[in-house]
Symmetry: C2
Subunit: 370 residues, 2 copies
DNA sequence: CTGTTAGCGCTTTCAG
DNA sequence: CTGAAAGCGCTAACAG
């Protein structure tokens, strides 16, 4: 028993399908009260549900918004996804989700799939990269995106423009001031941290990571500190954990050397000043912290640490993590809205969404008080 | 410049649209090598992307899987969503996401929207409820679901069947043994916990919560303990926080009374034995823990606490949370697969997926050792 | 204001 | 093995 169709409804109501369409699904022209009522009754007596595919085909638009994330289980993306959802709801659209693990090749496939479904717009979250191994993938992704835009699609990108994408019409970027914020974070930290800084970054070539690293170094330089050493690992918790392990070993070594055989536990109170770790995102920071802890080191006693993003789920972590708060939901919302805006013809200056701002948030993990 | 169509490709290749269709999109019949090659070339020289809407209309199926969650930013749902995503990928389908905050009315809308899009199957995650205020909504949801199934749709539900849904064909439930697991948790806890138990539950009528409460009480009874008092609040972090605040006050009072004016800080070592809190999910447990901490109480020193779910993002929380590990991703995967199975006609015993099992995981938060 | 007539792009009998 | 023709369900010009 297939779902009933508009034609059936029309027949039951004794009108033409066109009229039924006009009353059931919005149209500029309003049929007469009497007839409208009859149609409506027929419709719900049959349990009529319009076939969105057919509507889409006829109107060539789909009421769909495509969302591309690296990993929906990562709270960073989940928060953005929530924002996208909200914006989609405002536009009375549904969101189609694609998880790509950040591989440009998969992202390209996702874009193609969205294009095939005639998604009205596409939102891409997740760091762009310029790694050599992604070069080809990036080019293909850019080409796919261009084609999508040329065919009338709109795309909103979170963070950085996709490498190589010509800024064709319908292509919008929600810029996140990663570099500036990282610089500010560094500036604030230098006020209290006396020891060396170490950065735990993601793989080289990941824009988000690179920007934060660069910004942090800049902030350090401005404060007259020498540049931090940069440890590279995966852009997730286990990457942070690994790097944390390496740092823990180093801290212990330094302590052993510094205390020449004796054995106080408190690195922070020794000649060797405790290091301050900046992990380029919260999940990595949490991973690093876990590693230090597992090696018997304490934060902020033996080392201080800061992250980036201010992931909500991680706010109850102790010691509370110093970080940079990013309005993740808002970012998702804006990316979605900016993509839709062009859709509606509201061509206000190409990207009139208010700029994203973040907020340095110092908490216990970088406290240096006795 | 609209996307190019099959007809265009066919014309360019000098064949009929039918043939082009046969070579480009899978068909039982295989056109000749020579002609196939020509079509393929024409296709990608034009950058042809099949119009999924049109295909869907013609085949009346869409390659879409609808997923309904309360809140995609909640790590519990995010984990399930990841599993759904994976299963969808196996089936070469995309997932359509709907966030409903658990309101049956919204869920009904989501189901209707999915039905309109001719989703091949629908997965519903998130606790069902039998609260009086949801009664009407549940009935409508059930009706909508039934209609969807009757029209050939398949649905996979996580946890409990939707209230009032007739177990029509195509309706599958992935059962999570919440009650049993909660009972086991209680059993294990009674071995080490001497004080009273208190349960922080969600609103009455939420099945998941109710099951866990019931199971826990049963476990307690079996161990000869008297039933735990049940505090009700919202089924999320802030609900846990609120309840935690109330408990903190109570613990402090008890301590003051117990120590009649003197003032040791250690409730655990007093005559009043420390209470053991069971929060029906991890996020609530974390909230409660945060509340206790903010009131100057320490875990497990002043009270012990356990949660449920073993949310991955929360595993770095300290003290490590005792909980029941649930294979969330797997649950999502199974719900998706079981819904699809019927689709493929593989009618193996109505629900031949392996049953979900959980694992009691005792960690620091319930340690009672000195 | 309503009904009729064409498609939207693709699949799928059914002939050739 | 290929092509022609008839829709899938709905919308949007046109007529009436």
């Amino acid at each position: 028993m297939a779902a009933s169709t508009l034609t059936e409804v029309a027949r039951l109501a004794g009108v033409s399908p066109a009229t039924a369409s006009r009353v059931l699904n919005g149209s500029a022209r309003k049929p007469g009260q009497d007839i409208a009522e009859r149609v409506r009754q027929a419709a719900d007596s049959l349990g009529y549900i319009p076939n969105a595919q057919a509507q889409g085909l006829a109107k060539s638009s789909s009421g769909l918004i495509g969302l591309i994330v690296h990993d929906i289980a990562d709270p960073y993306f989940a928060a953005i996804a929530l924002g996208v959802q909200e914006a989609a709801r405002e536009q009375r659209k549904m969101v189609l989700l694609a998880t790509t693990a950040g591989a440009p090749a998969d992202e390209k496939e996702a874009v193609a799939a969205f294009a095939a479904r005639r998604a009205d717009s596409i939102v891409i979250a997740g760091s762009r990269s310029s790694r050599p191994e992604d070069k080809e993938g990036n080019a293909e992704l850019a080409a796919e995106l261009d084609r999508y835009c040329r065919n009338g699609g709109h795309v909103g990108v979170v963070g950085h423009p996709v490498v190589g994408a010509t800024a064709a019409g319908g292509y919008h970027v929600v810029t996140v001031p990663n570099e500036e914020l990282a610089a500010s974070l560094a500036a604030e930290l230098t006020a209290s941290q006396e020891g060396d800084f170490v950065i735990i970054g993601g793989p080289e070539g990941l824009f988000t990571s690179d920007d934060r690293v660069r910004g942090f170094q800049r902030g350090l330089a401005k404060a007259g500190r020498h540049p931090a050493e940069v440890l590279r690992s995966a852009f997730n918790r286990s990457g942070g954990y690994e790097a944390g392990l390496a740092l823990a070993a180093r801290i212990k070594d330094a302590r052993r050397d510094g205390s020449s055989g004796a054995g106080s536990e408190r690195a922070g109170s020794k000649g060797t000043k405790r290091i301050c770790i900046f992990a380029v995102n919260d999940v990595m920071a949490i991973g690093a912290a876990a590693a230090l802890r597992s090696e018997g080191l304490r934060i902020p006693r033996d080392a201080t640490i800061a992250g980036f993003d201010d992931i909500e789920t991680l706010r109850d972590f102790r010691p509370a993590l110093s970080t940079v708060r990013l309005p993740l939901e808002e970012i998702g919302r804006q990316a979605t809205r900016s993509a839709a805006r062009a859709d509606a013809g509201t061509d206000d200056a190409e990207g009139a969404t208010s700029p994203i701002s973040g907020q340095i948030t110092l908490r216990r993990s970088t406290e240096t008080a006795a």
